[in-house]
Structure formats: C-alpha cells, structure tokens
C-alpha cells in the first residue's frame, strides 16, 4: 500500500502543478489541433484519400504530441534539483517511475480525449468507436511507458528536445506501427475479432515496455 500511496503523491503533485500552469496540456493540445487542421486543409473533402490516410494522420499527430508532452515530464524535476529530492526520500526509484508515468498518461489521455472528437468532426470519420478507443488506450500506454524512461534519460542532456525523439522513436516504432494498423481496421468498421492480433501485439509491447522500463529506471536516474 505504501508503494501506491507514494505513487499517488507523485502523480497528484504533477497534476496539481499542471492545473496551475497548464503548460504541458495546453502546448500539446495546441500542437495537436494545429496538425489536425493542417491535414484538414491538405486533404479537404477528398473522401477516398482521407479514409486511406486517416489512421496515419491520427498517429502522426499523437506520436509528435506525445514526444512534446514527454519532453516536459522531467523538466520540472530538474529545476531546483527536485529529482534529487525524490531520490533522497525513502521511496524506491520504481515509485518515481510509476508516478511520473501515470501523470504523463493522464495528460496524454486528456489531449486524446479532446482531439478525437475534433478529428471526427473535421474529417467526418467515426474515430470514436470502442475498437479505436481501445487501440488508442493500449498504444498510448506503451508509448508513455517507454517514453517516461527516455524522458528521464534525455533530461540530463543539453539538447533534450532533439535527444528524446532520436532515442525514443526507434524503440517505440513497433507500438506506432501496430497502432496505425489497429486504427485503420477500427476506422474501416472491422469487428473485434479482426483486431485481435493487433490488440495482442499492443498488449505484449505494453507489458514488455512497462516491465523493462520499471526495472531499469533506477540505473537511468542514478548518476
């Protein structure tokens, strides 16, 4: 219980700070809306093209928005040495990882919850099906699980905005590939049965990324 109480303390602190500044969610949301609007201008009313590229558009938007969000995940901890404050506390390093991961996940889900209806409205596509929502939830979890780890790694580098995507995208690419496939099937109205293998892969990657990131986080944050 102590583990989860401390995880909650870290996540609560991040959410509280975000509610004050709205720095991460507003920046990511503006970026997301901008990309959606640009795609909307680019493809206009060409229905056949939109249907072909819709899942790609969705995941280009979420992937880059996710990197933007993850880039900020540990910035707050770096100011005034707060990460050291967490490391001195009687808290396993894994608690820090899970707490930070959950707060990043909350911010990403919030952005996606706002972006998906706008996407549906502008492109007149039914992206709010249960199938697509399930793909988005699973893919975002894997994305954030490994992204939090790399965010902790990149925050100590000078060019963290550049370092994070360079390190992170090659690792997370399987999740993005399956997310695009899953959303493509979901948008074409495929039943749950045909999404089974994609979902299976996304769950496997989620578990692998969560376990590995959880286990190696302490090596990343300790100097």
């Amino acid at each position: 219980m102590s583990f989860w109480r401390k995880v909650y303390a870290i996540t609560r602190k991040d959410v509280l700070a975000e509610l004050r500044t709205k720095e991460t969610v507003s920046a990511v949301l503006v970026f997301t809306l901008l990309v959606i609007v640009i795609f909307n201008f680019a493809f206009g009313t060409q229905r056949d093209i939109i249907e072909k590229v819709a899942s790609g558009m969705l995941w280009v938007t979420f992937a880059f928005a996710g990197v933007l969000s993850l880039n900020r995940a540990f910035v707050m901890e770096k100011e005034e040495g707060c990460l050291e404050g967490l490391m001195v506390a009687p808290v396993p390093r894994e608690v820090i990882y899970v707490g930070k991961m959950l707060s990043s996940l909350i911010f990403m889900f919030l952005v996606e919850a706002i972006a998906l209806p706008i996407f549906a409205f502008l492109f007149n596509l039914n992206v709010l099906t249960w199938q697509n929502v399930a793909v988005v939830l699973l893919a975002t979890t894997g994305f954030v699980a490994v992204g939090t780890l790399f965010s902790a790694l990149a925050v100590n580098t000078k060019a963290r905005e550049m370092v994070l995507p360079i390190l992170f995208f090659p690792i997370v690419s399987p999740v993005i590939i399956f997310a695009v496939q899953g959303s493509d099937l979901a948008l074409s109205g495929a039943p749950w049965g045909s999404l089974f293998s994609v979902m299976q892969f996304l769950i496997i990657f989620d578990v692998i990324f969560l376990v590995i990131s959880y286990l190696i986080f302490s090596f990343v944050v300790e100097e």
């Binding site: 303390a9 602190k13 707050m76 100011e79 490391m87 100097e223």
Partner: protein
C-alpha cells in the same frame, strides 16, 4: 553545536573504502571515516575536491563505485529506505516546486516520508522557519532566502537524526543562518548528527566538532576543531591543500 556523543554507541555514519570514479577519473579515493551520534563534521576542501560527490553518495543520490556506508549500523545500499528515512538534506538547490505553494510542497514531502499528523507538523515547521504567513503562497513568488527557509522546513519535516548540509547557507540572511544552526541542534533530547560541506572556515570552526580536509578525492587532514582558532585552521587548510592563503 554539541560535542561528540558517547563513544560506546555505534557510529551514526561509518564510511569504509569509499571510492567514486567517473570513467577513468577518480573523484573519491578509498575514504574511511566515521561520525559519532550527535557529532558534527565539516568537510572542507577546494572546488573539485569531491565534497559534493561525497555528500551525494551519503544521501544515496549517487552510487559509490566501491566501498560501504553504514547509517546507524544499517547498510545504505541494502537498507536504502530505512536509512534514507533518517537523513535530511539541505543544499543550494531547494528541491521545491515553484508552481506549488509552500504548503503543497511540504505536504508532498510529508507524504513521501509518511510523516504522521502532517498538518500539525507542517505548521510547526513553518513556524520554526518563520514562514507561517506565506505558507499558502507559491514558491516561485518567494525570494531565494525564503525558499531556502522552506527547504530547511522540508529537510526537518520527518525528524531526521542525520543532517547533510551542502553549502546550505547560500542565500540565507543572518537571521535565517542563525535559525538553520539552531534547527540543527535537534528536537527534544535527541542531538542530530550533522555533516556539512563549506568553504567558510570560520563557520566550520563555530558549528562543528571535527573537520576533514579533502583534496583531489583524498582525506589530506582530519582533526578536532576544539583546540583550534581560525588562524590555525586556515594554516592547516592551506598547508594540506597546497593553496595560497
């Protein structure tokens, strides 16, 4: 500060063969020393001597390359959670979140340290550092000195028996500095063990029982501050480190 406690008790901090290297560069070279319960120790030395690295290792922010550290007889690495609970740290970084209020910051750390009666303890600490009136203001609106006061409250929140101070007086006015040293004495009958790094020889003479001089990762001198005056300490420091007076 108080003088050393009874020699029959086990040391508060015991360091054996502590070595830290960054790649091929050895920052700390097989250090051995111990600090008795209630004793205060100053770690002196020029820039780059390894003082902050040593303190970071004692605080378990950094892993040593080799060597062992025992806190009240517990292995710092093996019993990390128990030993960290006994340590408080004040550095030139405050470990405070600028977008949160002083109360929210202290409440956050109280949750991590599982401090009982959180509300009462936060109020006690705020009163001690003279910040009761500003408890619900954001940290970002505070002066450096006020932030450092809250940082002292943060470090003492869980009643640590060992305090680590790394250039802790940075940004503090005279009143706050006096308050810091008063707080270091401990609460009730319990005397705190204090390990501090400083460039201020006069302060180390006034506030500590013993000193260690570090130079290039080695302990080049250690002794008691009891029978020394400032001139003698300065002479010892400059002779040990080969620095200009």
């Amino acid at each position: 500060m108080g003088r050393a406690g009874s020699a029959s008790r086990q040391p508060s901090v015991k360091v054996t063969g502590l070595t830290k290297s960054f790649g091929a560069r050895l920052t700390l070279k097989s250090l051995d020393f111990q600090v008795e319960t209630g004793e205060s120790l100053a770690i002196l030395g020029p820039n780059g001597a390894g003082k902050t690295t040593l303190l970071k290792i004692l605080a378990s922010i950094m892993e040593p390359t080799r060597g062992k550290i025992y806190i009240d007889g517990l292995d710092l690495k093996r019993d990390a959670e128990h030993t960290r609970r006994r340590i408080g740290i004040v550095t030139h970084n405050t470990f405070l979140y600028g977008n949160l209020t002083a109360w929210e910051n202290l409440d956050f750390y109280a949750r991590l340290y599982e401090v009982p009666d959180t509300k009462q303890r936060i109020e006690e600490m705020a009163a001690m550092v003279g910040m009761t009136q500003r408890l619900h203001h954001r940290i970002a609106t505070f002066s450096r000195g006020m932030q450092q006061r809250i940082s002292i409250a943060r470090a003492l929140l869980h009643k640590p028996s060992i305090m680590l101070l790394d250039e802790a007086e940075t940004g503090l006015d005279q009143q706050a500095t006096a308050m810091l040293w008063e707080a270091m004495k401990g609460e009730g009958s319990e005397k705190r063990t204090v390990i501090m790094t400083t460039h201020n020889l006069e302060r180390s003479l006034k506030a500590t029982d013993r000193f260690i001089i570090l130079d290039k990762g080695n302990i080049v001198h250690q002794g008691s501050t009891r029978d020394l005056d400032l001139q003698a300490l300065e002479r010892t420091y400059h002779t040990s480190t080969g620095s200009e007076p």
